[in-house]
Point group: C2
Chain length 97, copies 2
Amino acid sequence: MTEPEILKVAAGSRTTAVAGAIAGMVREEKQVVLQAVGASAVNQAVKAITIARGYLEQDDIELTFIPSFSEIEIDGQERTALRFHVLPHSPRSELST
Amino acid sequence: MTEPEILKVAAGSRTTAVAGAIAGMVREEKQVVLQAVGASAVNQAVKAITIARGYLEQDDIELTFIPSFSEIEIDGQERTALRFHVLPHSPRSELST
């Protein structure tokens, strides 16, 4: 098991680029954790995961995610980040209950 | 299997109230789908799910969720909503791999 890599998603991140990174890491069986601070960044992170789900359909991999709060420091200030632990599931039928 | 109930989350929704609704529905084994339009609403939805995870820890229920895009009409205009299909898992150990 490798250490999870934390992808920092910003308000200006391109969702398709982040989605491509997620899909690539999932295919390589790496653990993926996204981190976002602020509503716009959180929105980009969720959209990126949604797009990555489409990319991985052909691989028969279903993505779900677990969100958590994380206290981080930015420019000396405490901020609450949202982290998204991406979980690949296969086969899809596991999730249909 | 009941039809999923769609909880509409707005930018001004109280996250703890939405989290309480999610936790209640999951405990009653109802399917939960959240719908959010716009970055602020998406952010509130993700925060509500994260808080609901805390509420359900004592029940030994682990929540994950699947995001999807959904085209909806608001005031005659096409908008893209994000939907979050909440998936309860139990026991927790299933997700620890």
